[in-house]
């Protein structure tokens, strides 16, 4: 084979590889539209602004219990503890408000693509960055003070609209979204489920006694007071729980895998109203 010919063959092969690897993939915006259309068509009687209530948007029995619980919300202590934390100055006299000029109602600004750092920054991560910039020890990520702080911020942000951006001029942002997407749809664990297996076509079905919630609405209401936990937990705590129930090893909270997963899932939920903190079974 001549060099020219083999170069040509190589080029053909490479183009084939690129195309097979997703050049005819839809844009994130098209994927988001297909995702939202799917759930609206699956649950035609659920109004668009009800999905943020998770399984309670589709399960009348569960909803009754939940409405009773919401009369004396179990997350109220967390909100007031969080408010105190927000207003208590660091040892150096500065505080969270010095890091977050628009604070505390900043939930809709996260997760976001951080161009300088080349990574997805979530709200809990940004809070710890603020602490470390002020020589304070970082908080643990799944529960406790971080959940209190995020609960307060979520409460102050109620009514804001999810609006995650994937900047078109930074391919790394799209790569992070794509990584989150692959994580979401990959079967994992000994039980061999992907997230979609439970939260897409089986949403509304019962897994033993639990009604599976649709993925539309999954990112609106964090942190959550879960009766099962008996306390507040962050979104990444829920990710870990869902990984472990299929007998996969959970990833670390705020790991790149989970931040990208949050980026992907929240982007798909663009347009959904924020209503955190929440209460769940």
């Amino acid at each position: 084979m001549t060099t020219a010919r083999s170069t040509f063959m190589l080029a053909v092969l490479l183009v084939g590889l690129m195309l097979a690897g997703g050049a005819f993939a839809a844009t994130p915006a098209e994927e988001q539209a297909a995702f939202q259309a799917y759930f609206k068509q699956r649950f035609p009687n659920v109004p668009e602004d009800e999905f943020k209530n998770g399984a309670y948007a589709i399960d009348p029995v569960g909803r009754e219990n939940w409405e009773a619980i919401e009369e004396f919300p179990p997350y109220e202590t967390a909100i007031s503890k969080g408010e105190t934390l927000w207003n208590t100055p660091f040892a150096n006299g500065r505080g969270y408000a010095d890091c977050f000029a628009d604070g505390p109602a900043i939930a809709a600004q996260y997760p976001r693509w951080d161009r300088e750092r080349g990574m997805v920054v979530t709200l809990p991560l940004a809070l710890n960055d603020c602490r470390q910039a002020n020589d304070e020890a970082p908080l643990k990520y799944v529960k406790g003070p971080i959940a209190d702080l995020v609960a307060y911020i979520a409460y102050e942000s109620r009514g804001q609209i999810t609006q995650v951006e994937i900047p078109a001029d930074d391919p790394r942002a799209l790569a992070a979204y794509e990584q989150g997407k692959r994580f979401y749809f990959a079967r994992r664990g000994q039980l061999n489920f992907s997230c979609a297996h439970c939260h897409f076509a089986n949403s509304g079905a019962r897994l033993r006694s639990e009604v599976l919630s649709p993925a539309l609405g999954h990112t609106t209401h964090w942190p959550v007071y879960r009766s099962d936990w008996g306390e507040m937990g962050t979104l990444h705590r829920r990710f870990a729980g869902c990984n472990e129930q299929v007998r996969a090893k959970a990833f670390k909270p705020q790991s790149e895998a989970y931040r990208n997963l949050e980026y992907f899932l929240t982007y798909l939920n663009n347009g959904q109203e924020l209503n955190g903190p929440g209460a769940r079974k």
Partner: protein, 120 residues
Amino acid sequence: MTEDSIIASRLKRGFRNSLILGLLAVLPLGAAWSETPDQSQALASIEAAEAARQRADSVGGEWRDTATMIEQAKTLAADGRYAAAIELANDAKRQGELGYDQALGEQHADFPAYVLDRSR
């Protein structure tokens, strides 16, 4: 007939070559065959399980219980219960292999066709 007597009768008949061949074939199976595996066999199984676990982890495919199983196998080995340790370690190794294969097979996971039909 015991293994020893087989060997003896074969030696008597002068089948030296087949003895050597036979030993070579049987040696690697010793761990599975002997009734009381020893410590070194248990430790080797545990090491192999740990390698398989790490390989699965390197592609994000580790399963929930694999590390715990390996820890339990270590405890069993420390208590001198080598056969049980080997069995558990082998199960853990299998999990590592399955988790690795699973992760590789799912590298291009995507929206299901009922949500987004890529062929249109």
